[in-house]
């Protein structure tokens, strides 16, 4: 069975100007219980790669530069 890609708007936003992932930070990626934050290969910054979020907020609470904002996923908003 062939597979299609479908788009979805993700709840977690990373402010790329603030994110210091390029300096080696991986805090939000480390703490996420669902492992949905990854380094964006294009920008070297953290981003939400999978739309599988519990909006639980450790990523936002633990980010040393306040770069992360957790929004409520669109389906629930």
């Amino acid at each position: 069975m062939p597979i299609a890609n479908h788009h979805s708007s993700v709840p977690v936003i990373v402010d790329e100007d603030k994110c210091i992932a390029d300096k080696g930070c991986t805090v939000c990626i480390d703490v996420c219980p669902l492992d949905v934050l990854w380094i964006n290969e294009d920008t070297g910054k953290a981003h939400m790669k999978y739309d599988e979020c519990w909006y639980c907020m450790p990523c936002e609470a633990d980010c040393p530069t306040d770069a992360v904002t957790v929004n409520i996923p669109y389906l629930l908003r």
């Binding site: 480390d30 703490v31 669902l34 492992d35 949905v36 599988e52 907020m57 609470a61 409520i72 996923p73």
Partner: protein, 577 residues
Amino acid sequence: MEINNIPVIDTDILVIGGGTAGPMAAVTAKEQNPDLNVMLLEKANVKRSGAISMGMDGLNNAVVPGHATPEQYVKEITIANDGIVHQPALMAYATRSFPMIEKLDSWGVHFQKDETGDYDMKKVHHLGTYVLPMPEGHNVKKILYRRLRRNRVQIENRYTATRLLKDPDGNIAGMIGVNTRTAEPIIIRAKAVIMATGAAGRLGLPTSGYLFGTYENPANNGDGHAMAYHAGADLANLECFQINPLLKDYNGPACAYVTGPLGGFTSNAFGERFIECDYWSGQMMLEFFKELESGTGPVFLKLDHLAEETIQEIETVLHTNERPSRGRFHEGRDVNYRQRMVEMHISEVGFCSGHSASGVWTDETGATTVPGLYCAGDMASVAHNYMLGAFVYGQICGESAVEFAKSRREPVLDEAFIQTELERIQAPMKRADGIPPEQMEYKVRRLVNDYLQPPKVTRKMEIGLERILAVREDLPQLCARDPHELLRAMEVQSIIDCAEMAARASLYRTESRWGLYHYRVDYPEQDDSEWFYHSRLFKDENGQMASGKRPVADYLVPLGDEKDAYRKMRVQKAANA
């Protein structure tokens, strides 16, 4: 030793799941004997994993001297759970509950105290007083993590366990799993294993349709239940579903334990109280469900009558702790507790002993029916255990596992079994196309909602089971593009197992019990003559899913006159009302 070029890792005690019960089990094992190798394996990262990832706002079931006795607690929970409990296990919890609070207190977990320095207990339950607020409870995980490091527990993050291993005599021998970022398998040999993988929270589908909008932390998808089943352990009372009263569309409790003691309550559309007691029980949920479906529904959390400072206090607790995104949810809809009641709904169904009573059968020592395998927390069968129960049973299991491992030599591994499991793990990534885990998961969970969610109807559940088994037939097409999707692909297989278990367990018990949790419309009465038993679910000699009955152990505490207290949940209207 190597199997398929994979080195076998040896440890004395293996703990699977590093949320709440798991860290306590690992620390306890080390406290018992610092020379033992104790490994804690976690699907996520123990720093922020599990139900208490962002802390917790209270102990729901604390037995504190001067406020309640262990006997009163055992009696209350027996009544709340319609008699089907293993009282020796409840008693073990009740007697250890206070020493555990003091231990946590000495570790730096803050509980609310009154002016005299006594624990500030609140009454939420129908009969006794058991709720202890912890408005500063957001640092629990940090404190646990410090203890793990101090006691030199070996931590393996980002590995998901997939199957338990047994030796030729049927004793536990370890586990096999896979790294969630690299897809590399891991084989661990252990003399004793403690599982604490939490509830089966990705069983039903939230009404929003968002797969990860579950009440439970979605990392808790029932892997432990599936692994225990495949290892031959008994599961108990799975038809006693977990169903919780939540905010509509938001997966935070509403919340009886925080707002109740401050004057908030669950109301109908007319702002009227309709349940006597907000403590979560099946009977309470049944009244909730009836109100929701009635002309006076839906159901609301009513706070708009409270004083400004009380509302501020509630907001501080509810918007910073446990489910801190709640404030954002309200903001997005322009909902303010001061101005209007907040719409509530019921959660998706799941298995969870923390909140109801379904799980892997464990006795008062935390032992399952597989020698050397112990279970603690939301996945074990001790009723209404909540967070403190997870800690207490983590501790009990830590002690029991150390005792079991003492006399044990290095277990013999079943290489053929490991081989088969490695193939199961590797299969989804070998397929270039097929069915992605997300679609398969959506489908099976949608079937759970359509056919298994109470009110339960026999013919519907039979169709549901048939449809769930049909999804199982699609497994050879399950595909994963990367290690992360492989994690989801392994998870969906546990979800299918749990869905089948939920259907079979529900079909087996031909009565209604536990209010809404097992409200079976075509068998509407509770039938103690036939069903005053724990139901068993297990893999029989032919590898088939089978059911049976386990007698309820003699009560340590008789129920007396109060035995029907939880049947009288609905507020009685005055005759002239």
